[in-house]
């Protein structure tokens, strides 16, 4: 497979996964802004997904509709859902003959849905949850289409590596931001709605209820999002899948590159696998997450170097 094509698969997949994470986050945050007792702030969401500096963020953070506009259809925001879907589509366009026709049409529809001026209007005037649901449904269609139409080859491995790498980074960022907020506001530690919304935005609420009977505890949330093998958005689950799909790229002709990256992924996998809530507490959550994030970025860089011919 062409290096450029592999890179496009990888980025296509990362962008779609990111849009999914963003949309779910926005939806739950909007819902929680509707029953917030105190002043609701969008600051963590903006920090995770838009990379704005404090000053710009302050202008936006208390105005739900403005945040939604900026994050979903914002043309000036390079990280808005619109912008990243445009990029995803450009990547898909350049590998059109490698993806199924169904998948290309599905992405195209996603793009045209979000470009529709009616959607932007509805986001401002009507129920935003309905609008976000329309978009989330497009992502689900995408995943279904990939599942049933994409050939099981190298291309799909790169897509999956991109998807799980993006997901792992997101989960790490969310944990870091949400637990970081507690340092500023210790009351949150016992705020059940705070943890409930965090779990809802990751789609892990039901699993939590089934696993932990004693109500919302910060450490249980951490355990589920970082270390639970059965939770599809957990860091360990994502890293296991990066490893799984990377192994499929094993090929006689580039063993050195393969071993180099395989080593790095294995090391990260063990690092998380042999951690516990207790050991994380001892070394400090922020330190732990920063290190994991660094390793994930490192994997991305090594892929660039060894597989995408970006030297």
């Amino acid at each position: 497979m062409l290096s450029r094509v592999a890179a496009s698969f990888y980025w296509l997949s990362r962008y779609i996964e990111r849009s999914d994470g963003m949309l779910r986050m926005l939806k739950i945050n909007y819902a929680s802004s509707q029953d917030a007792v105190q002043e609701f702030t969008w600051e963590p969401v903006i920090r995770i997904f838009a990379g704005l500096d404090d000053e710009e963020s302050t202008k936006l953070e208390n105005d739900s509709r403005a945040v939604l506009k900026y994050m979903v259809t914002g043309k000036t925001n390079g990280n808005s859902v619109l912008s990243i879907i445009t990029l995803a589509r450009e990547n898909a366009r350049s590998v059109q003959e490698h993806i199924s026709k169904d998948l290309w049409q599905c992405l195209n529809e996603y793009y045209h849905t979000i470009k529709d001026p009616k959607l932007e209007r509805a986001l401002q005037r009507e129920d935003p949850i309905g609008v976000l649901d329309i978009l989330i449904k497009q992502v689900m269609l995408y995943y279904g289409t990939v599942e049933i139409t994409m050939e099981r080859g190298e291309g799909r491995s790169f897509m999956n590596i991109g998807k799980y790498l993006e997901r792992a980074i997101q989960s790490v960022d969310i944990l870091d931001t949400k637990f970081g907020s507690i340092d500023d506001n210790p009351d949150l530690l016992t705020d059940t709605t705070y943890w409930k919304h965090l779990l809802l935005s990751l789609g892990g609420y039901e699993l939590y209820l089934k696993t932990y009977r004693e109500g919302f505890e910060a450490e249980n949330v951490l355990e589920q999002v970082a270390l639970n093998n059965d939770f599809p958005r957990s860091v360990i689950y994502s890293v296991n899948n990066i490893q799984r799909y990377f192994e499929r790229l094993k090929n006689e002709s580039n063993m050195d590159d393969f071993r180099d990256l395989s080593f790095q992924i294995g090391r990260l996998q063990s690092r998380i696998k042999y951690s516990s809530v207790k050991s994380i507490r001892e070394e400090g959550l922020h330190t732990f997450l920063t290190q994991i994030r660094g390793e994930l970025y490192g994997i991305g860089n090594k892929l660039n170097e060894h597989y995408f011919a970006h030297s």
């Binding site: 497979m1 290096s3 450029r4 366009r93 350049s94 003959e97 195209n108 790229l249 002709s253 580039n254």
Partner: protein, 486 residues
């Protein structure tokens, strides 16, 4: 005949050949079934079909992007739902004519890049060839596989007021539009269920299969699975959709210049498992951008050293480089002579009478009759840099004359040919609009094959004679019918 509100309201343009409307005010036989079919549909239904067509083009991403104030706007190439129909006997004639013309043009290219007999025998003047910017010395005495230069061509045909076919221009470099021939047919299948088999329309789906077979036959390495690639300038090219469609339909790799690298006069592509040698390149990049070491040094679209690999015979390039000398509009004038010279045959398809403005007498004649003339640049395309004498103002004509006098060799003039008309669906009724026809011919080691069909371009503006998409043109599905069963 059956009553048809659409047909009754139709008023053909006088003095113009109408593809549907016969001389006795009747529907021509080959259009009858289609008109009957649409007559059963209300204007509402037809509007819905038009909408459906637009939606299908949009959702399949058959679009080109217009960049406006920093924001890309997706547009579709306008499509008229009423097909353009060609009878079996018309097609036989066209097919024969194009095969003859291409055989001669291909011989001309071989000749002009080798012994130049045609120049020595005084058939084509030497200055016409050497002054053509697309005549490339780099191609001199370069052996191309099977002596084929014009693997893929699109010959533009038009019909005068009496229905005679003329060749308007030859496109022998990288003709585009074939994906519309294929996609328009797919759309028609959806719009008019069952109509295609009822009318006995010949299929166009063989095109990618034939092209692939020809590309395969050109591989310099005698191996089981040679690597064939389609070289595209990338996603910002307006024909990118076509490049991906063809790559997908043939199952070949679509590459950009940056994916390829030349080492030791061999071309490789960069893959996730290292370099892989490339054998055949169907390139959609113009000659000038193909190799920065030989042609335009600022090109980012090409591959450094590819010309060396080509010269060594390590890679086949389709179409051959330097074909522009044969479809130059000043050389066009000599095509009938070429046919007589190389084949000893009379040309089947006529040329439009053409004046070369480098010739003083002809130039003076043209300047006196500007309002009856169409003036074109010899190496222009897409309808740019063209003057339609009958529609131009005095000032435009004067300004154009000054342009011409700067370098008369670069201009030709042709009398305004009226172009035939075909019915188009416009706001609830049928109206005549001017059309042309571009069939696509594939030249392989087994000979020339022409898929029965082509691209019919249509000037959607009322009264317009310019069918180019850049000038408000659209397209139609093009049907070639089976011979009627006796």
């Amino acid at each position: 005949m059956q009553e048809s509100a659409y047909f009754d309201k139709y008023s053909p343009i006088s003095g113009v050949w109408d593809e549907m409307y016969g001389s006795n005010s009747q529907i021509r036989d080959h259009y009858r079934k289609v008109i009957e079919y649409i007559s059963r549909e209300s204007a509402d239904d037809l509007n819905k079909k038009e909408e459906l067509a637009k939606r299908l083009f949009m959702s399949q991403g058959i679009t080109f992007t217009v960049y406006n104030s920093g924001e890309g706007i997706e547009k579709i190439f306008p499509f008229d739902i009423i097909p353009r129909i060609i009878t079996a006997s018309e097609w036989t004639f066209i097919e024969k004519g194009i095969k003859q013309r291409l055989t001669a043009l291909n011989l001309f290219l071989k000749d002009v890049y080798n012994n130049q007999f045609i120049v020595k025998d005084g058939i084509v003047p030497i200055d016409i060839i050497y002054s053509c910017p697309h005549f490339l010395r780099e191609m001199y005495q370069l052996n191309v596989p099977h002596d084929i230069y014009i693997h893929i061509s699109g010959i533009d045909l038009i019909r005068d007021h009496d229905g005679t076919f003329y060749v308007l221009e030859d496109n022998l470099r990288t003709p585009s539009g074939v994906s519309y021939m294929l996609e328009n047919r797919e759309i028609t299948k959806r719009l008019f269920p069952d109509l295609l088999p009822q009318c006995g329309v010949r299929s166009v789906t063989e095109y990618p299969t034939i092209l692939y077979k020809n590309l395969l036959a050109l591989s310099p390495r005698q191996i089981a699975n040679p690597t064939i690639v389609l070289l595209s300038p990338g996603i910002y090219n307006s024909a990118y959709f076509e490049h991906t469609t063809l790559a997908r339909l043939m199952g070949v790799e679509l590459v950009e210049g940056r994916d390829l690298v030349v080492n030791n006069h061999k071309v490789y592509m960069k893959t996730t498992t290292g370099l892989q040698q490339v054998d055949v390149i169907y390139r959609r990049v113009d000659d000038d951008y193909l190799d920065p070491l030989v042609f335009n040094p600022s090109s980012m679209l090409g591959v450094a050293g590819i010309m060396g690999a080509y010269r060594k015979g390590n890679v086949a390039i389709v179409n051959a480089i330097g074909n522009g000398v044969a479809d130059d509009k000043a050389v066009y004038i000599y095509v009938p002579e070429m046919i007589r010279y190389y084949l000893n045959e009379e040309p089947i398809l006529k040329n439009v009478p053409t004046h070369q403005l480098g010739n003083r007498d002809e130039r003076e004649h043209v300047f006196k009759n500007m309002n009856k003339m169409v003036i074109k640049k010899t190496n222009g395309s897409g309808g740019y840099g063209m003057l339609m004498g009958h529609a131009a103002t005095e000032q435009e004509i004067d300004e154009y004359k000054i342009e011409v006098l700067k370098d008369p060799r670069n201009f030709i003039a042709q009398p305004t040919i009226s172009l035939s008309a075909a019915p188009c669906y416009m706001q609830g009724e049928l109206q005549p609009r001017r059309i042309d026809l571009r069939p696509y011919a594939l030249f392989g080691p087994d000979g020339i094959e022409i898929v029965p069909g082509g691209l019919t371009r249509v000037a959607l503006k009322e009264g317009s004679l310019v069918v180019n998409s850049s000038q408000g043109g659209g397209s139609k599905d093009t049907w070639v019918l089976n011979p009627p069963i006796p």
